[in-house]
Subunit: 141 residues, 2 copies
Amino acid sequence: MVDMKYKTRTGCPCAYFLELLGDKWSLLILRDVIILGKQYYHEFLESEEGISTNILADRLAKLEKLKILKKTRDPNNLRKNIYSPTEKALDLLPMFIEMFIWASKYDLYTAVTREHLDRFRGDKSSYIADVRAKFNSTTTR
Amino acid sequence: MVDMKYKTRTGCPCAYFLELLGDKWSLLILRDVIILGKQYYHEFLESEEGISTNILADRLAKLEKLKILKKTRDPNNLRKNIYSPTEKALDLLPMFIEMFIWASKYDLYTAVTREHLDRFRGDKSSYIADVRAKFNSTTTR
DNA sequence: AATGATACTTGTATTATGCAAGTTATTGAT
DNA sequence: ATCAATAACTTGCATAATACAAGTATCATT
């Protein structure tokens, strides 16, 4: 999967998106990074959806290669790697928001609270700005 | 796949979305229906991404079961079935738009023209209204 | 009644994912 | 300085999803 060939080159943005992120796990990893603020390998492993370790390793490598995530050593513990979102990842926020709005409308068992949803819907750009600010402060600090 | 069990029930909208539409083909079929206005089985088969016929049949059945597409007989030709979007499908439009904006920003070979992109970005709600109007007129006519 | 069109179904090969166990490098404690 | 524990993976094999090729059922036209 990491060594995938880009064969669907049809020019359609939808096909491009799915070629890069249209598997069962990539978007869940990005949700962990962008929305839930996870950083470490073991944190992704512990996600309640239950990704297996070989698939996780493969997807992290792929997302790094695509410059959607960047991998750095944790200066406080050299055993740990920190995965953080690039601009290309943060640019997915509007799509995530629309995905959330759709899913929480149609999923009877959604865990999204009314307040959270109102926050998304009411002022998307301020939510996006908040998330971006969080990552900017950690990367420049 | 049609007889799938819903095992990931984590409550996360992202997981819900991927459970329903997170395979390689469902979103491409919905793009064909919603954005490109395709209706017939053979039209989906002829999409340039090249879906195989057994997978197409499976996904159409799944999307119908999920009430994302509805299937009706073509009154002019009883051999043909017409697949059309439900409200649940049309509610995906905002997500498609954000997906298109992201993908055309990062795909060097995007087929999306500057004008089309400006139309998406400039006034999303009017684009959405136009698409919806198209389907309303055909369903009531 | 025969022919072609349309929408599928079936069988099998290939690829992707899931699961369990093992490996390497670093760290913190003794 | 040594050793057990931690973190991030890798490897091998089973299962599931997708791809490819061929076949079938139904309706429409002649």
